[in-house]
């Protein structure tokens, strides 16, 4: 008899647990279906030398990062400091920048003013490459392995903790993988 009265309380507690988990989830953290799939191809002009193109296929055999950013994006500025430090401390890392729906002049000025951590910057003026990569909120960062497979996607700005505990160990692990 007593147990029966505890039943609604039990059900309520289960509900509370689910709601608590739900509160902690970030609805903007949409899992990317691109993970463990081949990086979408594109051929886009480079920011500093528009006559030269860049395509993900050029990076075959190397582990690389693609950071999607724009000069109009406030949180890109926030993470830019960390990327600049990160690139300085780890010059061997292939960090590429995809300048998303931006004016090239504004983008280049931004890099002059705040430092340029990118080995190569690519321009995606109409955002169609971004769309292929499933970009929906800059900044976003992808980690691509030697075979050209997307292994990780970071949505939103990175911080030193993410770079040191997640991105860096992943790069080291991927570097050890065979082609």
């Amino acid at each position: 008899m007593k147990l029966r009265f505890l039943l609604p309380l039990g059900a309520f507690m289960i509900l509370v647990v689910f709601l608590a988990i739900g509160l902690k989830l970030d609805p903007h953290d949409v899992p990317s279906p691109l993970i463990d799939k081949a990086a979408p191809a594109f051929t886009l002009p480079q920011l500093h030398e528009p006559q030269k193109n860049f395509s993900p296929a050029d990076m075959k055999g190397k582990v690389w990062l693609l950071n999607v950013w724009a000069s109009w994006c406030a949180s890109c500025r926030q993470e830019h400091v960390y990327f600049t430090e990160f690139a300085k401390a780890n010059p061997s890392i292939n960090l590429m920048g995809l300048n998303y729906k931006d004016e090239s002049d504004a983008a280049m000025q931004w890099l002059v003013r705040l430092g340029n951590p990118y080995k190569i910057s690519i321009t995606d003026k109409d955002g169609m490459a971004g769309l292929d990569w499933g970009v929906y909120g800059v900044p976003e960062t992808f980690v691509i392995d030697k075979k050209g497979i997307v292994r990780h996607k970071q949505t939103g700005p990175v911080d030193p903790t993410i770079l040191q505990t997640l991105i860096m160990p992943l790069i080291e692990k991927l570097n050890l993988e065979e082609m």
């Binding site: 903007h28 899992p31 109409d126 169609m128 292929d132 990569w133």
Partner: protein
Amino acid sequence: MKKLLLSLLLLQSLNAFAEIEIYQFKTPELELRYQTLTEELRCLVCQNQNIADSHAELAQDLRRKVYEKLNTGESNDQIIDYMTERYGDFVLYRPPFNVKTLILWIAPVLTLLIGGIGFWSLLKRRETNITEQLSDSERAHLNELLHAKTSDKT
């Protein structure tokens, strides 16, 4: 002052509408398909809006992609596949029926079923309780009382 405010508000809404671009379609059928598709695709920036209603730049790009794909003769399924390959099932307002979404789809039926069974057993228990609750002595007592009542009246 009120008039000024009102006109300002009206101007504001005009601005908002100005952002939804208008596409020309070859056939009314294509336009209809464009409308259904954009209403079923979720904008990932403002997550509680579909791309038909959203002013976000991403929604604009997605609409353009839908328009281009319709014009090249792709089917609705092909367009939906294109979107889910890039943005996952999350982009769909009507999630597909698969292992991951199984709970989502059967939860309403399941809840109704559990509730129904609970309610049914409650009713059942009450019914039996009522018929079995009175013992012989209680029945006699009740009769006595009823009898007393009627005799009072007369």
